[in-house]
């Protein structure tokens, strides 16, 4: 009997661990601590089938992620952001079905099935166990394998084993219940305790520029250019124009870069950075003009960080 009980304990342990792992993984979104991502993962992408806002590559999902990030940064709670999006798209965008009408049925059926299943499994288990452990007639010798065990011992052990199963079942139920209760609160935990930096949260353009600069640093010039464009659309600023121009030069679109630099020069004819960008943009198409522009740049800003490099370039070409 002992090996069998040990096997049962192992099975129970494996089941418990599996349940714990499963519940943990479904409560936490794929190992992500970012509340914005977790919120997005709980929303269905309105433009696609079976994809969450977090996973979808559709532009509207990207817009929704941006709205989520902005609102969280502005100090709204995840529940408030969710309410906002539900007010825009209806409850259908929630990945979890609503607990009313037919949605309630979706919640109740698995719960009932689990409850009834557990109940009947326990019942069936009990019945066979009782049947098997009905005391053997006194005339029959005890089985050799059970060694010194007497019938009373076996009954006691059987009850103990039954206790393990029951305790296990209760533990699984308690675990599922506990995590289900705790899950909504867990979501709120990773929110930053400190108020978000007012400068950063008040200005999405600054965030966008920081992101673009990061993308540039990683060599993702296309993405950086797109972000600079978006930032420029929100704030027509010379500095952003020149950053975009520099990114465009690096992706080989010097004509567009030259136009941007010219826009800046139209307002500020001697802006050294604009002269620098224009000169660099002209290098591929018109080397002579490029050299002239770069010389103008050197005249205006001999102490510019790029001056030494440009001087070399001009002297070489």
């Amino acid at each position: 009997m002992r090996p069998r009980q040990a096997a049962k304990a192992v099975v129970l342990l494996v089941l418990l661990l599996g349940a714990a792992l499963g519940v943990y993984r479904s409560a936490r979104v794929a190992g992500d601590d970012d509340p914005a991502r977790r919120l997005a993962a709980g929303l269905r992408c309105p433009a696609c089938q079976g994809e969450s806002v977090a996973d979808s590559r559709s532009p509207i999902a990207a817009a929704m992620r941006e709205v989520i990030a902005d609102q969280l940064q502005a100090g709204h709670s995840p529940a408030e952001v969710r309410t906002y999006l539900v007010s825009r798209y209806g409850a259908e965008i929630l990945a979890a079905p609503p607990a009313r009408g037919w949605g309630l049925l979706l919640w109740l059926v698995p719960a009932l099935a689990l409850g009834i299943g557990t109940g009947s499994a326990l019942r069936g288990h009990r019945r066979t166990r009782r049947y098997r452990h009905t005391p053997v007639p006194a005339t029959r010798p005890a089985p050799v394998r059970s060694g010194t065990a007497r019938p009373e011992d076996r009954t006691r052990r059987a009850i103990a084993a039954g206790g393990i199963w029951n305790a296990g079942a209760v533990a699984v139920l308690a675990l599922v219940g506990g995590v289900a209760v705790a899950a909504p609160h867990l979501t709120a935990v990773p929110r930053p305790a400190a108020a978000p930096d007012p400068v950063a949260s008040a200005d999405p353009v600054l965030d966008l520029l920081a992101l673009a600069r990061t993308a540039e640093g990683q060599g993702r010039y296309e993405a950086a250019a797109q972000m600079y464009r978006t930032a420029l659309a929100q704030r027509p600023d010379d500095e952003i124009r020149l950053r975009l121009a520099f990114t465009l030069i690096r992706t080989g679109r010097s004509a567009e870069a030259a136009r941007l630099a010219e826009t800046v020069l139209a307002g500020r004819p001697d802006a050294p950075d604009a002269l620098l960008m224009l000169g660099l943009a002209q290098r591929d198409t018109d080397p002579a003009t490029s050299t002239r522009t770069l010389r103008r740049f050197l005249d205006r800003a001999p102490g510019h960080p790029a001056a030494a490099e440009i001087r070399r370039l001009v002297e070489a070409g």
Binding site: P46, A47, S58, P59, I60, A62, A63, M64, E66, V67, D70, A79, R82, T83, L85, V86, S87, R88, Y89, G90, L94, A96, P98, A99, W107, L108, A111, L114, G115, I116, T118, G119, S120, L122, R123, R126, R127, R130, Y131, T134, P135, N166, A169, V170, L173, V176, G177, G178, A180, V181, A183, P184, P204, Q226, R229, T230, L232, A233, Q234, E256
Partner: protein, 192 residues
């Protein structure tokens, strides 16, 4: 106590294990309650979405590509077609000439067409408008798509028909056809 069990298991089963069904019921109860708690945490509010038919149209404000301030609320009293589009969207390209034609056709009835350029660069939008002959459209850039989200848009193209009371009279997800425009606009504005 245990002997009659062989023939009638339920009889002996009862006294000692009657708590098993209770446990199962308790389990169902626990799950029900915990899920209800989990769900109330999830569903905060679910009425009709903001852009449902008959609902007041969400806000649409901004500066158009030509630099003029635009506010949908100022257009109360006029029928407005709000079209969400982008230069990176093929069907939008095909749809823009229809919207321009509708604006011209119902010009005498004061129809306005407002374009919302969703997640797009201004240069690309200008190029698209020039290419499709839609340069007279009033276009408000929505670079992040936040306005599109506030309208509950599923994507582009999407068209909302806002009546003279500022309510959403109709909505088309995906490209509109000339027939769609004709039928809806005739109903609201009369024949052109």
């Amino acid at each position: 106590m245990s002997h009659p069990l062989r023939r009638r298991p339920t009889a002996g089963w009862r006294p000692r294990f009657r708590w098993v069904p209770t446990l199962a019921l308790l389990g169902i109860g626990t799950l029900g309650v915990t899920m209800a708690v989990g769900v109330t945490g999830t569903v905060v509010r679910s009425g009709p979405p903001a852009s449902a038919l008959g609902a007041p149209a969400p806000a649409l404000t901004g500066r158009s590509l030509t630099g003029t301030p635009v506010d949908l609320a100022d257009l109360r009293g006029r029928v407005v077609l709000v079209n969400l589009f982008a230069s990176w969207c093929g069907p939008c390209r095909a749809e823009l000439p229809l919207l321009v034609a509708a604006q011209r056709r119902w010009a005498a009835r004061d129809l306005r067409v407002l374009g919302l350029a969703v997640r797009d660069g201004e240069t690309a939008v200008r190029a698209l408008l020039a290419e499709t002959g839609a340069t007279d459209l009033t276009v408000v850039p929505d670079p992040t798509g936040a306005t599109a989200v506030s309208w509950g848009a599923a994507g582009v193209p999407e068209t909302f028909l806002v009546d003279d009371q500022g309510r959403i009279a109709d909505r088309a997800t995906g490209p509109v056809t000339a027939e769609w425009l004709d039928r809806r606009l005739t109903r609201l504005l009369g024949a052109p």
